[in-house]
């Protein structure tokens, strides 16, 4: 098992829906891979293109943004903005020669505990198949950027 | 005599009374049928009901437990616990259809060689009359019994029985014995049913009707017991066949 590639994936989850669904998955004792690490934001509308690129730059193998169902955003339309930014980052990754599938947007309500687990499993499998992020593949000859 | 059925009987005799009684019977050259095989325990209280079920599973046709009379127990009240356990075991055997006649509890002091011999003779006769235990038909029941007897719930209830009903419960009162007996009976029944269901679904997922057929329980009872198992995360829904959900042991 030691050599099998274990991706590290960061998930930006909105406090009112996705984060609550993650908690619900917990209280339902569902299980999903430990590769997913959640960073909470008040609304996916707060996730900026720079935050997503920063994650990729830091070596994230996968990044996804999980927000409310379309039309149910607690702040009216934050999730729609998030989708536009994720799409833009996908284009940038393509330009960089990286697989756009490493970045994704999901929508779910706070009652969808099982769906949250499903997403975690799906993203982990997808990134495992894609392999480690090319950003991390080459050793860094010199000191990393300060 | 040889061709007829020869029952194999396992006996647990407490060291201070029944075992001594048995020796005295030997010294006194009293005669009783040779079908009994004896295991000496320091006290009849040491006999775990699971030993009896294991014996039946392993090939014995009857289990005989001998201990001191109430009040004579070398360890004050070991035999009182045996009494409660054997009563629970008897109830379980009745519910499972095997019948309580497969076990016998006898108090015999170190001096009562003759009563010991007589009870062995009688028990051997009764087992002979009952015929061999058809293990092939009773595998599910036996498996259910051993699972049920291993549950903390039954083992705890049978142990605490005297404490709460005779001495005092945590509220410094005596729990009404009828109430305790109701709790006990309900626990024995449901744990046995749940045990059988667990036995089946641990091998392969099954639906309610299949479980009802295999366990012989009414359909609705199976549904209720399944709910208990699900509540304690021992069973879970595992897919459907058309409109019929299948249940399996929880991962």
């Amino acid at each position: 098992m030691s050599d099998a590639f274990e991706p590290t994936i960061i998930a930006f989850c909105c406090k009112y829906c996705a984060y609550a669904a993650a908690d619900l998955a917990g209280s339902m004792r569902l299980s999903y891979p430990a590769n997913i690490k959640i960073s909470q934001v008040p609304c996916t509308g707060r996730v900026d293109i720079v935050h997503l690129l920063k994650a990729i730059e830091d070596g994230a193998d996968g990044v996804y943004v999980a927000g409310c169902m379309e039309g149910d955003c607690h702040f009216v339309s934050g999730n729609l903005k998030a989708l536009k930014r994720v799409t833009c980052v996908k284009k940038t990754l393509a330009e960089l020669g990286m697989e756009p599938e490493r970045v994704e947007m999901f929508n779910l309500s706070s009652a969808m505990g099982p769906r949250f687990a499903e997403i975690a499993i799906e993203m982990t499998d997808r990134i495992r198949k894609l392999g480690p992020s090319p950003v991390r593949r080459q050793p860094q000859p010199e000191a990393a950027a300060e | 005599m040889e061709t007829s059925f020869q029952p194999k009987i396992l006996a647990f005799l407490c060291n201070w009374c029944a075992y001594a009684g048995a020796d005295l019977a030997g010294v006194s050259r009293l005669q009783y049928p040779p079908n009994i095989r004896v295991i000496r325990t320091m006290c009849s209280g040491r006999v775990d009901p699971l030993f009896a079920i294991r014996a039946l599973k392993e090939g014995f046709d009857g289990v005989f437990v001998g201990g001191c009379h109430i009040g004579d127990c070398h360890y004050q009240d070991g035999n009182v616990y045996t009494l409660k356990r054997m009563d629970m075991l008897a109830r379980l055997l009745d519910i499972s259809g095997i019948g309580r006649k497969r076990i016998r509890l006898v108090w015999a002091s170190a001096a009562e060689a003759q009563p010991y011999a007589d009870s062995v003779t009688d028990f051997t006769a009764s087992i002979t009359a009952s015929g061999p235990l058809d293990r092939s038909r009773q595998t599910l029941a036996l498996a259910g019994l051993s699972r049920a007897l291993a549950t903390p719930r039954l083992r705890w209830l049978v142990g605490i029985d005297r404490q709460v009903t005779e001495r005092s419960n945590v509220y410094h009162e005596k729990t009404d014995t009828a109430h305790f007996q109701r709790v006990m009976q309900e626990a024995v029944e449901t744990e046995y049913h749940k045990a059988m269901i667990q036995e089946i679904i641990s091998q392969a997922p099954a639906n309610v009707r299949e479980l009802a057929e295999k366990t012989g329980l009414p359909v609705y009872t199976v549904s209720l017991r399944l709910n208990d198992l699900e509540r304690n995360a021992q069973a879970e829904l595992r897919g459907h066949e058309g409109r019929t959900p299948r249940f399996a042991a929880a991962a």
């Binding site: 590290t8 917990g26 707060r46 830091d58 934050g78 | 729990t175 359909v219």
Partner: protein
């Protein structure tokens, strides 16, 4: 109005019954300056609503909606929850009651118990789980549901055998068997009864075989079956053999509208709606097709958006609605159920269903009836609290008020409205002792850490075995020691327990910790608790970050403890990295103008203005017409026969006389600015010479009660013949003893005129009751008149059903027509010389004979719809939304029925939705209570996770102005950069991410903080 000056009044109130109504009343009063004792005889608050899966008409999950309220009432400084207790007696009089309350033992210390559930797992004794209506079992030691408040277990002494096993398992040492019943005396100024209702037990109706077959369940049991926390985890299965049902039947009016067997003549008001909801939710829960059939007499979907919900179920979800009342259910061997019913065409139908849900009605709980007896308040024939229409929340005993389902069967929005109304009425007489009993949390001054390097304290929690049982907590703690800026680490069994909180406070002070990281459960539930502890240790509450290593780690990676430990370390490292960047955030205090603007001079407006004045605050009442009274001026009597005119004149007189009310007649609102607590409104008054005088009013809150008017029908020859009139015209004619009424031989009432149509797809709620009341009155003054009522559904909900019964007894004939085939009224011209000698003739298809019949009525009364008054400019001035039908849209249909989404603005009366006069009065009082949450305070606290503009970086590019969903940012012409008003910002952070100049930062979620967390995660990986 104040009683003997001598007896000193107490500024606290006792609320009996902690269902959704009790909670709303308690929160309203506690936030308006009164200490509340909330007594409930069960082990936790929440009442009936907590058992529901979803709620109509929005299909929101009930628990998601109610749990924030439960947490708020559980933590409120001025609400004392007295669970597991019964009120034994009440002495004294209004303003100074002494209530003796018996606290039954719980055998568990609420402060210590963390509801970790270990005791439940090993308790050997099972008992019927009442919360799941007996569908499954619970243990002798139990908690009603995971989100219960107070979040603590209880021992059911009747089941417990006292074996002591739970004490051995309880790590928090919370079990105390020595508990004994105690009596406490509460000195309160008023009492509110909100004991709610229980679901009717249909086992008495033997032909329905309830209780004899597991697949026949009551509606509440079906709700539990649908619920994810229910016996089958939300999978729809039938109890008997867990098969997924293909066909389910709902039987309406079980235990309601049934005088011969159930003894409940009234309609329970909610069963039609929850049955429709259950059909729709059931269909969503199964992947295989589900045929749902509802057997009913009248489909009573009278509330806001209810009719649309009913049409959606019928047309989109293809639910079958069959107008027939089932007598017998015949269980079959395989668990299915056979039903025989009569179609309208008369032939008998037999159908087999896999499951039958009995839409059981509501009835007052026996304990409530007993309590009412002890308190000496009058009950009506069905043991509900007896109330008058014009004083809907007052009981027969002075100082005791009632709300919710104990006042009468009703749905959640109506209960919540009445709860707020009761809160307003109860505190009216206690205005001068406001804020006398309430406690204020003494907080030490916040220590200023500016300039100091971060000194982070990390507290890792075991949460009993929930975390400690999976992840290696000591290893996590030691790992945290190695992280930058960390100067103190420790781990605890239960970080959230009271004693650990005290210990943490000392450590924070001793070690001069200026940032705190707690690695435990979810911030959604426990952040407020820890933030309060920080605040009590002198730290600003935002110097805090949580790592969720339970719900999002150990609970979901139980099978791989090593990975769970590694992930916990990652999460702690991320939290500590962000902690280094967080700054203290000031709580913005805003002072409040203590007055309320009320727009609209109808009954709702006047009751609201009077309510505010009686609470001791200034009310400005604005009416654009030239006289007060609105639609009520034409109403003759309430449904219980109370005359409206005297009540109206007393009300108008009281409004004119009260010195705290200033009235502006013929005045319109032209401009509104400001936010909650500080509105400024410009009014323009037309004086008689047509000159315009404008006045500027500062006020803290506003109530819109702009009312409605009757729809002028275009159909049924209205206007073409004097004897064709609307309801209000009938009432006016009745008051004048008009000859058209007295001499009428044949009178016909036509229902749903203009309502439930394509243009107005809503039910106007009051017309059925109005027609029944008018018909009965007409019979009294003109006994031999023959009366027909042509209807689509008779929606005389609640106790109004008695009118329907009396009308039938009085010989009124009812003919039902379908919307596609309405009655036709035509005019046969009489002798031309005779003025209006033309005769009316009416043809309608009789629903039983299935053949048209012709009547020649000399009186036709049209039950015409209620429309909202036209107020487009006013609504735009207040920036409040109106729905497609023109009615004002409330913030949340269920739990904030009188609030607008934008804070500080409230609504009442017909402008919200058509309603009877008693419901308007209740909603007006409710709005008053809601304004008191603001106006009764000198200052209010405003959120601090808000967006802030850095002027140097602002390129004034308008991006923020355009993207903010609430239109908050604006460009300040003098300052030359964007400005975001702290009080208005909702804190979503969209502008911060869109700003091209990176000029906007969302406090507590700045770029540095978010990036720090991301960098920390991938640092070590």
């Amino acid at each position: 109005m104040n009683l003997q000056k001598t007896t000193e009044k107490t500024g606290s109130v006792m609320v009996v019954g902690a269902g959704v109504a009790g909670i709303q009343a308690s929160l309203d009063m506690a936030n308006a300056g009164y200490f509340v004792h909330l007594v409930d005889n069960s082990t936790s608050v929440g009442g009936l609503m907590a058992q529901l899966d979803k709620t109509f008409p929005t299909n929101d999950c009930a628990m998601c909606v109610i749990s924030p309220f439960l947490v708020e009432v559980g933590r409120h400084l001025n609400i004392n929850i007295i669970s597991n207790s019964e009120v034994e007696s009440l002495e004294g009089q209004a303003g100074a009651f002494h209530a003796t309350v018996r606290n039954d033992p719980r055998y568990i210390d609420i402060e210590k118990c963390t509801a970790c559930g270990q005791c439940r797992q090993i308790c050997p004794v099972t008992a019927i789980n009442e919360f799941d209506c007996g569908l499954d079992l619970r243990k002798a030691i139990y908690i009603k549901y995971p989100q219960a408040v107070p979040l603590a277990y209880a021992i059911d002494r009747s089941a417990c055998i006292g074996c002591g096993l739970c004490e051995k398992a309880c790590l928090a040492e919370a079990i105390s068997y020595a508990d004994t019943p105690r009596r406490t005396v509460l000195n309160v100024g008023a009492v509110i009864l909100s004991m709610g209702s229980s679901v009717y037990d249909p086992s008495g109706l033997d032909t329905l075989a309830y209780g004899r077959h597991p697949n026949i369940v009551t509606s509440l049991e079906f709700e539990r079956i649908l619920s994810a926390s229910g016996p089958y985890k939300g999978h729809l299965m039938r109890p008997y053999d867990r098969e997924i049902p293909e066909k389910i039947a709902w039987l309406q009016c079980v235990g309601s509208r049934d005088i011969n067997r159930a003894g409940h003549g009234y309609c329970s008001s909610v069963c039609c709606m929850y049955a429709i909801k259950q059909t729709m939710i059931a269909k969503e829960h199964v992947s295989t097709p589900l045929d749902a059939a509802v057997f009913y007499m009248d489909m009573r979907t009278y509330g806001k958006d209810f009719d649309k919900y009913y049409t959606r179920a019928k047309d989109e979800k293809h639910v079958r609605f069959i107008r027939s009342r089932i007598h017998t259910i015949e269980p079959l061997k395989n668990g299915d159920l056979n039903i025989r019913y009569v179609l309208e065409s008369g032939d008998v139908q037999e159908e087999t269903f896999n499951m039958v849900v009995l839409s059981a009605g509501l009835s007052p709980p026996p304990s409530a009836i007993a309590l009412a007896g002890r308190l000496g308040i009058d009950l009506n024939a069905y043991h509900y609290a007896q109330t008058a229409d014009i004083r809907p929340v007052n009981t027969s005993r002075e100082g005791i008020y009632v709300c919710g389902a104990f006042q009468g069967p009703k749905d959640i929005p109506q209960s919540v409205m009445e709860a707020s109304a009761a809160a307003a009425s109860a505190t009216e007489t206690l205005a001068d002792v406001r804020w006398t009993q309430t406690k204020v949390r003494e907080l030490p001054a916040e220590v200023d850490f500016s300039g100091q390097k971060p000194r982070i304290g990390v507290f890792v929690c075991n949460c009993g075995i929930n975390i400690g049982g999976v992840a290696d907590v000591p290893a996590i703690r030691e790992y945290a020691r190695s992280l930058p800026h960390v100067i103190h680490v420790e781990d605890n069994l239960f970080t959230c327990s009271q004693d650990t909180q005290e210990k943490i406070k000392q450590v924070l002070v001793e070690k001069g910790i200026n940032r705190v990281v707690v690695a435990s459960c979810s911030p959604r539930t426990h952040e407020p608790l820890f933030q309060e502890t920080l605040r009590e240790a002198g730290l600003n509450k935002y110097l805090f970050e949580m790592a969720n290593i339970r719900d999002q780690n150990t609970w979901v990676h139980m099978a791989s403890p090593a990975k769970a430990t590694a992930k916990a370390k990652d999460l702690v490292r991320m939290a500590v990295a962000k902690a280094a960047y967080i700054e203290p955030l000031p709580q913005v205090m805003l002072d409040v103008t203590n007055s309320v603007l009320v727009v609209g001079g109808g009954v709702a407006g006047m009751e609201a203005a009077l309510g505010v004045a009686r609470q001791g605050y200034q009310a400005w009442l604005v009416e654009r017409g030239h006289q007060l009274g609105g639609m009520a001026r034409q109403l003759r009597s309430t449904w219980q026969g109370e005359p409206v005119a005297p009540y109206l004149s007393d009300l108008i007189d009281a409004v004119h006389r009260h010195e705290h009310i200033q009235i502006f007649m013929e005045t319109q609102v032209v401009h509104v600015t400001g936010t909650i607590g500080n509105f400024t409104t410009t009014l323009v008054t037309q004086d008689d010479e047509g000159k315009e005088k404008s006045t500027v009013i500062p006020h803290g809150a506003a109530i819109l009660a702009t009312g409605g008017h009757e729809y002028a029908p275009t159909e049924y020859q209205y206007g073409a013949h004097p004897s064709v009139m609307t309801h209000l015209e009938f009432d006016v004619a009745a008051t004048k003893q008009d000859n058209r009424l007295l001499s009428a031989k044949l009178a016909v009432f036509i229902q749903c005129v203009g309502s439930r149509s394509a243009e107005r797809p809503y039910c106007s709620r009051v017309c059925c009751t109005h027609s029944l009341k008018s018909a009965l009155w007409l019979k009294t003054i003109n006994p031999d008149v023959q009366i027909f009522i042509l209807y689509r559904d008779i929606r005389a909900y609640g106790f109004r059903e008695s009118l329907y019964q009396k009308a039938r007894e009085a010989g009124v004939q009812f003919i039902r027509f379908e919307s596609e085939n309405p009655p036709v009224v035509s005019l046969t011209p009489g002798d031309p010389s005779e003025p209006n000698s033309s005769r009316l003739s009416l043809t309608v298809t009789d629903h039983i004979l299935q053949r048209p019949i012709i009547l020649n009525p000399d009186l036709v009364v049209l039950a015409s719809a209620i429309l909202p008054n036209e107020n487009k400019k006013l609504f735009e001035a207040f920036k409040v939304p109106a729905n497609a039908d023109g009615f004002l849209v409330e913030a949340h249909a269920k739990l904030r029925p009188v609030d607008f989404a934008s804070e500080g603005l409230f609504l009442a009366g017909l402008a919200h939705y058509p309603k009877t006069i008693d419901e308007s009065i209740a909603q007006a009082k409710a709005a008053v209570s809601r304004t008191m949450n603001i106006v009764s305070k000198t200052a209010i606290m405003v959120g601090s996770v808000i967006a802030v503009v850095n002027p140097e970086r602002c390129a004034v590019c308008l991006t923020c102005v355009r993207t903010c969903p609430y239109g908050i940012p604006r460009i300040d012409p003098e300052k030359g950069h964007a400005v975001i008003a702290a009080v208005e910002c909702h804190g979503c952070g969209v502008c911060a991410s869109e700003c091209p100049g990176k000029a906007i930062a969302l406090k507590h979620f700045t770029d540095e903080q978010i990036n720090a967390k991301t960098d920390a995660l991938f640092q070590a990986a």
